[in-house]
């Protein structure tokens, strides 16, 4: 039960104020989810390097978790380039070029893994968009795209690890934010688990991330993966997905969850409510559209300067 927002700047390689834009949009729909806020930010990648973020909590418990992470990293001979303890998380950039899925599943046993990617960094914590920004300095982030989420917990806990965005465990750089409920969750999850996938939480939204990652792994385009997700998933959903180079949305056939998009030459912005989009353009009446039920769309970022 939530609000979602995403933005992609089409006309720049990496210099747009994505962090600030996401904070404004999420603050605009904070009434939809006061419990926690999260951001998927996409940095320029450096070949051979991986960004990892763990949720470690505070104090002695956190010290222990960080030590465990470091030990696991050394087992994999992943050299730490930089690391940082911030808020309830531990962020580390390492040199690594082995089997990512095995590495990720193993790192999962060291501490609660928030994200792994060449460019993806998921920041999420309890509180509103501005609270999370105060701790993690999301506003400083510049890039081409990102997605975010505000959460009202209905069935699971109010905790950083239960917040969105969700990373597709084991797959670099894929993340989703979701508003709604997947009703055939267990059936779909069992199917994916049989194929060797690992789930971090019991949250239905994580399923969407893993489902899409599985499709992408088999060479399906993001657009086609979204199309098949509408066929395969039951329930009410509006979700956004992001990869290193693309963002996209899918909306269920019942149109039970809201979504509005705004597009011009420079940006594509999507949010649960127009009030979030309007935050980007105060005082302006926007030409927006509401995606039709059962549809999806994707946008690719510009890859040349």
């Amino acid at each position: 039960m939530c609000g979602i927002a995403g933005i992609l700047y089409k006309d720049t390689v990496n210099k747009a104020e994505v962090g600030k834009a996401l904070i404004s949009m999420l603050d605009g729909c904070q009434h939809r989810g006061p419990d926690s806020t999260g951001f998927s930010l996409y940095y320029e990648s450096t070949p051979g390097q991986l960004r990892l973020r763990f949720i470690v909590g505070q104090g002695a418990e956190a010290d222990k978790a960080v030590a465990m992470v470091k030990e696991k990293l050394s087992q994999y001979q992943a050299k730490i380039i930089e690391d940082e303890r911030i808020g309830s998380s531990y962020r580390v950039v390492v040199e690594f070029d082995g089997d990512l899925q095995k590495f990720a599943f193993d790192m999962e046993h060291a501490a609660k893994l928030s994200s792994i990617g060449e460019s993806l960094d998921i920041i999420k914590d309890v509180g509103g968009a501005h609270n999370v920004d105060d701790i993690y300095h999301v506003a400083k982030f510049e890039g081409t795209h990102g997605i975010g989420h505000v959460r009202l917990a209905t069935e699971s806990d109010v905790a950083p690890e239960a917040s969105h965005p969700f990373w597709a465990t084991g797959f670099a750089d894929i993340s989703i934010v979701h508003n709604g409920q997947i009703t055939n969750y267990y059936k779909m999850r069992r199917r994916l688990e049989k194929n060797g996938y690992f789930f971090n939480t019991d949250n239905d939204s994580e399923l969407i991330a893993v489902y899409l990652a599985d499709k992408l792994k088999h060479g399906v385009s993001l657009n086609h993966a979204l199309k098949s997700s509408i066929e395969d998933m039951d329930g009410t959903f509006s979700f956004l997905v992001s990869t290193k180079d693309e963002i996209g949305y899918a909306k269920d056939r019942l149109a039970a969850k809201p979504m509005v998009k705004y597009e011009d030459d420079k940006i594509i912005a999507i949010a649960s409510e127009e009030v979030s989009l309007n935050r980007l353009f105060p005082g302006k009446a926007l030409e927006t559209t509401e995606p039709a039920p059962g549809t999806c769309e994707t946008w690719h970022r510009s890859t040349s300067a």
Partner: protein, 652 residues
Amino acid sequence: MASIDLSVTPVREANELIRKFGAEGEDIDIFNPDARHHIGVGLTHPITVTIKGSAGYFCAGLTDGPRFIVERNVGWGLADNMLHGSVVVNGNASAIAGVAIRGAEVVVKGNIGSRAGQVMKEGTLLACGNASFMAGYMMYGGRLIILGDSGPQVGQDMTGGSIYVAGKVADLGTDAMLIDLPAEERDDLLAFLERYQVPFNGTFQKIVNAGKKLRYPRNEPRVRPIPFFEASGDSAYWNAKVQEDIYVKAQIGRYRIRGYGAARPMPHLSDLAFKRDLSSIPADPGLVSQVDLRTEFGGRNGGTPIKLSMPVTIAPMSYGALSKSAKLALAIASRLSDVSENTGEGGMSKEQREEAKQIIYQCLAGRLGWNIHDMNKANGLEIYISQGAKPGLGGQLMAKKVTPAIAKIRGIPAGIDLRSPSRHPDVLGADDLVIKVEEFREATGYRIPVSVKLGAGRVRDDIKIAWKDGFDFIELDGMQGSTGAAGVEVLEFVGIPTLSAIQEAVDALKEVGGYEDMPIVLMGGIKDGIDTMKALALGARAVAMGTSAIIAGGCISCLQCHVGSCVTGIATQDPEHEKRYNVPVEAQNIHRFLEGVRWQIAALTRALGYTNPHQISRDDLVALTPEAAAITRLPYAPEYRAMQEDFLRKAS
């Protein structure tokens, strides 16, 4: 001409200003709306409000009389429940545009989102562009005009009204059909378009209800009714009730419907006892004056709290399920005993409002009888999500009770088997509910407490959501809650018992730290002052009584409430039957019963050594059965049974 700039004036303040200018007859321009929600809600004066940009959810909602112009788009729930007046939107409207309108004219120059015109009753909704999924869903009346394409499943489960489509009709919803357009209707449509300066020279297809689902195909045969207290008989497997049930189902080939609540045995407050020897209870009628029974709730967000002379309210029962006379007797009794009355689903009658001192106004998914004027007259507002008798389902009112008078107050066609929608058009999740609650607060200037009625299912999760959504109080209804009509299987087998419900609710509120903030009014099989005290000990602030109140007022518990020919004149709309109901006499009976409840509460309060019933706590209770102990975590102490029985003989 006044102007309001929403970049500096918060919406709450702006709405107060809009109403003030409205009263002065001054038109208003709204600048920098930036798609904010709730602009103009609750306005009841015929002024023009021009919104210079886009508006968010519930623009022009809960209004009567004004003219709104929106320069660009609007969010969900445009003109929600608008009675008269008009809205013109120059851009697109999101989902459920024109939801539950009752006479308004709503014109959208662009496209409309899904479920446009859901449960609309009267008036016109025009989309100059395309409609989306399920346009005209469950509409009861009025006109929906779509100049573009219809979108899928147009007219799904519509009951009345007409849909006119100029573009392509994608496919028809359940129980909708295409018919020829009479020439004079075309002229009416063209006149409407001309009035709003919409150029058009195409042709229309007309969609109406096909009439296949408005009535159950076969009525139940007449059999000798088995009264409620026999229906709950001894044998759990073969008994007279089972025999009757098989016989009737063999005739009708579907589920059965009856009144009242769950009859099968289940853990209840009677499985608890007070942990003290209450044999010394004084038979002194004056002891009521020795205790302070006053009870208050609903002020969490600054509204005027409901103030009761004791921790008892009348449970929601509709005018429709009950006759106007029965509702009147309840209202009078509630005033005489200084407790609150509740409208139930069918709207607020003038007489009922005049007789009741305090009344809670219930808002259901069908918005039957819901309007801004009665909201403003209420002492409490209640968003019904579900009820204990039939969690997850809407109300049922069989055709015999859907008389022209009932149809009029509810805004529906007469003579149908009314199956009210089970889901609110605008509440598909906790996130939407936040915005809905805010709409009610904005429309009534934050004066009136807003509560939520929950049928006991997943209470722990539901209560936490209710707390986060900011409700002022909870009306929690256990599985033993009764109703005027529901499927028997649902009555007997869906939900959790009242005892489990209150325990889970209190646990959940304590987990989130909301126990002090959000009081619970417990209902579902609360018979008397003894049950009331047990409910209070478990953590309720007050209780609601429905079944016991109508029994006090003459009900014979024959379970035939749904049929419509109630012999006592309570559950009927037939004037001949209603004549049998003597309002002043029954009002006095209900009042005397409530005073008996008051005495029981006072006596128990004194016997337990308190001066106020709210001082009672879990420490005063034990469980008499292992099941009740497991549910409540109270000590299992069957040795108190004999003492309890002795006490009950004395106290009743």
